[in-house]
């Protein structure tokens, strides 16, 4: 798993273990040297006091003259003097244990670790001397066991403390990292809000480490919406430019109405109408934003009443009752222009056919947004509904824009990955159009 927290923890554990290990090793080594050096210096003192006795009469080194510790059996403090001829004087404390020390030439000196009696670990200082013409080797030793026990305890405690330290640090790090990542939570919420169209850009009040990322994202968003805006404007201008001449052409044909019918005139008229419709449909299709681009969302609670007002004005002469209903808790969805276009076309179609009333309801249904538009007009037969669903064919040539509006509606629904279905309204008796749109999910 590609987790920052995991990587941080792994890095911390490894470096801490390495560090603690090094500390431990260095501590152990220096402690060992320190204690040994200390013991060796003590042994040197012992050796010196022994030497002093030997200097008067080496043959008569008696137990009474030396430090009592050398007389107590297995006391841990021992000495051994071996002359060139093989004679040995050993401390009483050594009892019958044999210390195998090498013979050293005068001036030589060695430090040895030897097993002692009663499983003692001895540090032995062996030195070669010449006194009054007699060469001998002097070995003094001390038991290391108590010190080693102490030292082991120390290293064990150190390791334990280090381990505890590592665990504690890990816990602290985890806490810190979690806290840090919690500061990213607002960014995530921001992105979710962005996806739902509640905001148009991300807040730049973020930790400096992710600020470049957020800025890039904002820049990209701005670019996208500018591009959408530009292309929409350009299309609007194109429509404006083309529609003028087309309008004149259409008027020309309208004025020819009273002339004797000429088939060629009729043909030309049909072609002009086709151009108008094709252009209208393609322009509208090109203007659609679809999902994934941050733009103003359609808020049914405020935008639908406005649209209904427009329809009431446009169909003022027909005195239609247009009812609408928006379920509670429907969040803004879809692009503002797209949804107005979709609803406008559906409602306009319903108004054209209705006798007295039109109904529009927006609600949530299984996590989707359901838009239902129905009228009390004549409705459509099954064949007509099938034809409408398949191709968006023009059903009535006399009512302008019929079929075209529904075709545009279908294009929009398709762009949003939704469905548009037609059937007979069970209550009003006319046509019922049902749109199901995927509720935009944040993930």
């Amino acid at each position: 798993m590609n987790s920052l927290e995991r990587s941080l923890q792994l890095g911390l554990v490894l470096s801490l273990l390495l560090l603690m290990g090094l500390f431990w090793l260095a501590g152990y080594q220096s402690l060992r040297h320190l204690t040994e050096d200390f013991i060796v210096s003590r042994l040197e003192h012992d050796a010196e006091s022994l030497l002093r006795m030997i200097s008067t009469n080496p043959e008569q080194l008696l137990g009474q003259q030396v430090d009592p510790i050398f007389n107590q059996p297995f006391s841990g403090h021992y000495y051994l003097i071996r002359f060139r001829d093989g004679r040995e004087i050993t401390s009483r404390s050594l009892w019958d244990h044999l210390l195998s020390v090498p013979d050293l030439a005068p001036g030589e000196r060695k430090r040895l670790h030897l097993p002692g009696p009663a499983e003692q670990q001895l540090l032995v200082l062996v030195q070669g001397f010449r006194k009054h013409g007699t060469e001998f080797t002097l070995a003094v030793s001390e038991d290391l066991t108590p010190i080693e026990i102490e030292r082991d305890r120390f290293t064990r405690n150190f390791a334990l403390l280090a381990l505890l330290g590592v665990i504690l640090l890990l816990v602290v790090q985890r806490f810190v990292v979690r806290r840090l990542f919690r500061r990213l939570e607002p960014v995530r919420n921001d992105i979710q809000r962005l996806a739902q169209g509640e905001v148009e850009r991300l807040s730049e009040d973020v930790p400096v480490e992710i600020l470049p990322l957020v800025r890039e994202l904002n820049h990209l968003l701005q670019l996208l919406s500018q591009r959408l805006e530009r292309s929409r404007n350009a299309l609007g201008n194109l429509a404006h430019a083309i529609k003028g001449p087309l309008n004149l052409l259409q008027q020309f044909f309208d004025e020819q109405k009273n002339c004797p019918d000429s088939p060629r005139l009729e043909q030309a008229k049909t072609q002009v109408r086709r151009i108008c419709e094709l252009m209208q449909r393609e322009l509208k299709r090109a203007r659609m934003a679809g999902t994934g681009i941050p733009s103003r969302r359609f808020d049914p609670a405020t935008d639908l009443p406005d649209l209904i007002q427009v329809l009431e004005n446009i169909h003022h002469e027909r005195h239609l009752a247009i009812h609408y209903e928006v379920a509670e808790g429907i969040h803004p969805f879809g692009d503002h222009e797209d949804m107005l276009e979709l609803l406008g076309n559906l409602l306009d179609n319903a108004c054209k056919w209705a006798r007295t009333s039109v109904r529009c309801a927006i609600s949530g249904r299984d996590g989707k947004i359901a838009i239902v538009v129905e009228d009390d007009g004549p409705g459509l037969s099954r064949q007509e509904i099938e034809a409408l669903t398949e191709r968006g064919t023009r059903l009535d040539e006399t009512k302008e824009g019929h079929g075209l509006g529904l075709a545009i509606g279908k294009d929009i629904v398709k762009l949003y990955g939704g469905t548009l279905a037609f059937d007979r309204s069970p209550e009003l008796g006319g046509l019922r159009a049902t749109v199901l749109l995927q509720q935009h999910s944040p993930r």
Partner: protein, 222 residues
């Protein structure tokens, strides 16, 4: 009926103006937003046909400014920008009706008539008053005794204005303002001539003279 046509596409504007004049409107033409806004504020138009894509000042702003200043002249937006969100914006800015281009002349004229009737709170499809019914399409008038009388262009315009404002004293100035376009040579004697012609056709009692106030169309049923 004074009509302000705001349209920057010259050929379309000319063709529209011609046709609207045939329908009995005194048409003034503005081909940019600033002129349109000025004319709309200065002249007592009965209706405005407004394009949105205008040079100098967008049509929607022109409309907003009129409404901000309390100018309630009925406005039909006639535009190539006919997406639904643009219609919503148009109505929010204070439009009374909206027609997308390309349009059929008949539809525009029907909507203009409907809007004028709506503005004058005239119910139904036909203008009637005092037993007289005005046929706006044929520019004829049907009298209470069933006779149909043809009207000339100016007579038709004058009678229509009378019938849209029944039982209200209308000054000669006001009548001229609403019947002739802006640059017409305004001679108030002309009104007297046409009023007397209408009296000949409808009967003297239909249009009364109020001294110092002007004329009044009596719409009470006989």
């Amino acid at each position: 009926m004074r009509l302000l046509l705001v349209e920057d596409d010259k050929p379309l504007a000319d063709s529209l103006k011609k046709r609207l004049a045939q329908e009995g409107f005194a048409v003034d033409l503005a081909d940019n937003g600033i002129d349109a806004e000025f004319l709309g504020d200065e002249e007592p138009y009965d209706i405005v046909v407004l394009d949105l894509g205008l040079p100098e000042r967008p049509g929607i702003e022109v409309l907003k400014h009129w409404r901000q200043r309390g100018n309630r002249v009925p406005v039909i937006i006639l535009t190539a920008r006919d997406a639904w969100h643009e219609r919503v914006d148009g109505f929010k800015a204070g439009a009374d009706d909206y027609l997308g281009k390309p349009f059929h002349m008949e539809e525009l004229i029907a909507r203009i008539h409907a809007l004028i009737r709506r503005h004058h709170a005239v119910p139904g499809q036909l203008l009637r008053g005092g037993g007289v019914v005005l046929d706006e399409e044929q520019q004829q008038v049907r009298l209470p005794d069933g006779r149909t009388v043809e009207l000339t262009g100016t007579e038709f315009r004058l009678l229509r204005y009378f019938m849209l404002n029944p039982n209200k004293p209308l000054s000669k100035t006001r009548l001229i303002e609403h019947i002739y376009e802006q640059d017409f040579d305004r001679d108030s004697n002309l009104i007297e001539v046409y009023v007397s012609r209408l009296r000949d056709k409808l009967g003297k009692e239909r249009i009364a003279t109020r001294r110092g106030q002007g004329y009044i169309f009596i719409a009470d049923e006989p």
